[in-house]
Symmetry: C2
């Protein structure tokens, strides 16, 4: 009989949730299971009544998250063949800022029959981007009042975050706002489902909830935004804060029945998919930037130095690892943009050829694109199809492609789009470098690390070697590490990461020639970035669009 | 027995040639026949030896033009059932500037075994765009020497035209330059094949050959460009000029055998596809702008007023109709851009759905796009995938699409591309209006008039009614009208047009609401137009591209 103990990490992504069973002693990944949310991302019509949603909305259904627990955890227990009694803890990580309105007891308002037809009663996914006007007001007022906290967020609060989405809720659906007791991160709601306690994790509270130096924005400030918003903190938001890696509680009987795990095992405080990944890569030291590259990219890095980095998402003490300053930046669209192009703009014969060769469409496009020398397509693009999170914090920006000719082929645009996201990453790295928080290592994680074409372009564009996380399930492993800490198997996350996390031996090294050509192309990207980030063209096009669509609605 | 007489017009387009048999008394179109050039447009590899062509090349094979005569003329005679003895004349029109090097007797150098492997020995099609550096030098020198003729061309000689392409030939292939006796427009070469006489038509001589006020650029000017170019006019270019509608000669015995037409009938002076179309639309009065909308668009208009219109292609006395000033402007890419997008960027399911519905892909995209209100896609594009002929005269410019989001659908980009070309047309119309040569009517001709979706967008964007030419074969009918004049059936082209040409009764009228929204969108187009027409971004991307592609060549 083995004395080995195990933990489970559950990673909640944009489209699916994944459970990973991990051995505590060495981080070995024993079994994993994925479940796609049956409602996916709701962007067009509310499923229950077919109601058309406005542009830039993105909702989810909270019961999909519980289904992940019910399906994937029993599955990994079964696949692994281990004794469930040897599992000592569970932890989760979530997309953020993904928020929902709930009752005093944690029931989502969308599960109440009186509210189920109201889109505002549902989960607002991170990429719900229609609260930009609210974010604009939050930012203008903060700057005009010289609120000290605004500089901790690179000077801008995102439309994705708790306050902008809450203000939208208040003003567009006062009945839902009024009925809710908590405006809660999904990251914390799922922990509540597991252990019966609502603990607000320091990571989302800090990065998404403007919790800085132990306090929130003042009542005066909120009152100036909207008098009905004045008591938002006390009435809807604030709650006990939990440190990352701490225990939020123990598994309830109900959750034990869902999962097959023993009642009473440790449940860690909630966490965010990007932030847990640092632990999985054992990249928890200053200067180690971890880029979690998937549909979007999050960049996280710890530091001992407090600095103001323009356009970063935030700096939060203990926001990544307890006891260190955690910096976060991000790109709202990365793999999402590749997918948008590959799914909508690739012709029939490409699809047929890819199938003949047994390649997925991304591989097929990459294999065609790689044959061309850097710059051979004559294109440059702005990667703002989903807005710009860092460094411009503006989700009303949009994508641009320039240099098109009648000879331009789909694989060339595909490559230009991949490159545009690499330029976006370089812009973030340079901004950190110029702000006194230098990036010394670039460690990639997330779904895109499987794509060597993408990784090499990033190495060439950044002109830095790229190290790749060892685990192909970084966030889930990161969560498992936090579960191990919460269960007391290690003294802290740094110690657990050193044993359970790590990177691959192989690196992607920049090619000197390619890096030189990319320097030239990046100059053009930078000029376009400055210009279209500041001029009002994209905002005005969106205004015209919204007016046009409203008129026919 | 009928006394009716007939004429044949042959229209040489970019991809095919079309013969049209027309009744002289009323312009009735009796029969037509199309033949696709077997070599099409040669852009990648020289067929004879597989040699890779540099970027921006576009060649043709002259024997393809003769094949059109051999195939289509007998076909229309056969289909119509008329007695060939009742055909009294033939005329042709051609793309321009499409030029080739020939011997003293008119033999194309590419038909000589010693030159057949040299790409420079072939026809350079109008859209051969690699002579931009030569055009740049031609323009810089003309301005620095204050050459009077440059203002007749809107301040810029195009890389498409005779001088830029000849200078490229001289400098890149001196052996071909030296071996050729004539640098001849295909428009005139085909007439030479029909009647045995080389007559240089005033239209291409004026618009494409810098023939102004009875003379060409000076030897001193040419010497300053390149000493070996000093005698270009006398040694390679100049020749007897023929007026439009005049007789170049009579059908030779050989051409009679090719075509089945009677030897000795009238062969009209050569002409250009766009310019003949004015006659077909009976739009030969000042202020009547005829837009021949196909793969590219030509805008032609006669006037009594000599003005300098920035960026127009040229003003030539007698260049459209004898005795009047003829203005020409153009858009290098229109239907070409629609085709580029529809053929390369429309996904499998669209292709399948279109097929199920029995629609071609353009109709399918248009039908989807039309459902959306103006501005509803949030996009604006620059229509420069094939460069910009008017008003910027710069073929190193390239296309741009702005406003892309993850929700952007193919039909939305398709619509934005159609709109971008309408904005380009509006830019041209406004430039004429602002230069003292106002556009009072907009008459559309060419292949795109069949597309009501495109026509309505143009009407809305221009905020002008659009009248549509009656004939669906405008250029061929225009040529037939010139054949009738050359044969003496009418006293001049104006008289013949009044009887044989005309427009449809139905107009496309602008929608007031749509026009207002398009005003807003056009403002953005104009800003981008000014900016990217002047800043060097697109030029530099092309430079980077060309360096990259040269390195691997």
């Amino acid at each position: 009989m083995s004395n080995e103990k195990y933990v489970i990490g559950v990673d909640y992504g944009t489209l699916s949730g994944r459970a990973l069973l991990v051995r505590v002693s060495d981080g070995l990944e024993i079994a994993s299971s994925v479940h796609e949310y049956s409602h996916g991302v709701i962007e067009d019509f509310l499923p229950i009544n077919g109601q058309k949603l406005p542009p830039d909305w993105a909702l989810q259904v909270p019961s999909d998250y519980v289904d992940v627990l019910k399906i994937t955890v029993p599955e990994v227990l079964k696949t692994s063949g281990i004794d469930p009694a040897d599992v000592i803890g569970i932890a989760t990580d979530f997309t953020a800022c993904t928020v929902l309105p709930v009752t005093e007891s944690g029931t989502p308002l969308c599960e109440l029959s009186e509210f189920q037809n109201n889109p505002h009663a549902y989960v607002k996914l991170w990429k719900h981007h229609s609260a930009q006007p609210h974010a604009d007001r939050i930012n203008e007022l903060a700057h005009s009042r010289k609120e000290s906290w605004i500089s901790r967020y690179g000077g801008k609060i995102s439309s994705e975050w708790e306050f902008a989405k809450a203000l939208q809720l208040l003003e567009e659906s006062p009945e839902i706002y009024s009925a809710m007791r908590y405006w809660i991160e999904a990251a914390d709601w799922i922990i509540w489902q597991l252990c019966g306690n609502y603990v607000r994790n320091i990571c989302t509270a800090g990065y998404k909830g403007i919790f800085q130096d132990g306090k929130y924005p003042s009542t005066e400030y909120l009152n100036a935004l909207n008098p009905a918003f004045a008591d938002f903190i006390s009435a809807k938001l604030e709650h006990r804060i939990g440190e990352l890696g701490a225990k939020a509680g123990t598994l309830t009987k109900e959750a034990s029945l869902w999962t097959g795990l023993p009642e009473g095992i440790a449940v860690a405080v909630g966490n965010v998919d990007a932030h847990v990944t640092s632990a999985a890569a054992n990249a928890v030291n200053p200067g180690q930037m971890v880029a979690i590259m998937g549909t979007s990219t999050c960049h996280v890095m710890v530091s001992d130095q407090l600095a103001e980095v323009p356009g970063m998402c935030g700096v939060v003490p203990g926001g990544i690892v307890s006891g260190k300053l955690g910096y976060e930046a991000g790109q709202s669209g990365v793999g999402d943009i590749f997918g948008w192009f590959a799914n909508n703009y690739v012709p029939e014969d490409y699809a047929e050829n890819a199938q003949k060769l047994g390649k997925d469409i991304h591989t097929y496009l990459s294999d065609l694109a790689i044959k061309q020398p850097v710059g051979g397509h004559g294109l440059v693009a702005l990667d703002w199809q989903s807005g710009n999170r860092s460094t411009l914090v503006d989700h009303q920006l949009s994508g641009l492609i320039l240099g098109l000719t009648l000879a331009t082929r789909p694989e060339e645009i595909y490559r230009a789009i991949v490159e545009s996201t690499a330029y976006g990453a370089r812009k973030i790295v340079e901004t950190f470098n110029n702000s006194g928080v230098p990036v010394k290592e670039f460690i990639a994680a997330g779904g895109l690390i499987k794509n060597k074409f993408v990784m090499q372009i990033y190495a060439d564009v950044l002109n830095m070697p790229i190290t790749v996380i060892r685990s192909s399930q970084g966030p889930a492993l990161g969560s498992a590490i936090h579960a191990a800490v919460a269960a007391g198997a290690y003294k802290d996350v740094v110690a657990a990461s050193a044993v359970m996390g790590g990177v691959e031996q192989i690196k992607f090294n920049p090619d000197v020639h390619n890096a030189r050509v990319y320097d030239e192309l990046y100059r053009h990207y930078s000029s376009l970035y400055e210009e279209f980030g500041q001029n009002n063209v994209m905002h005005d096009l969106r205004r015209i669009r919204d007016v046009a669509l409203m008129e026919i609605a």
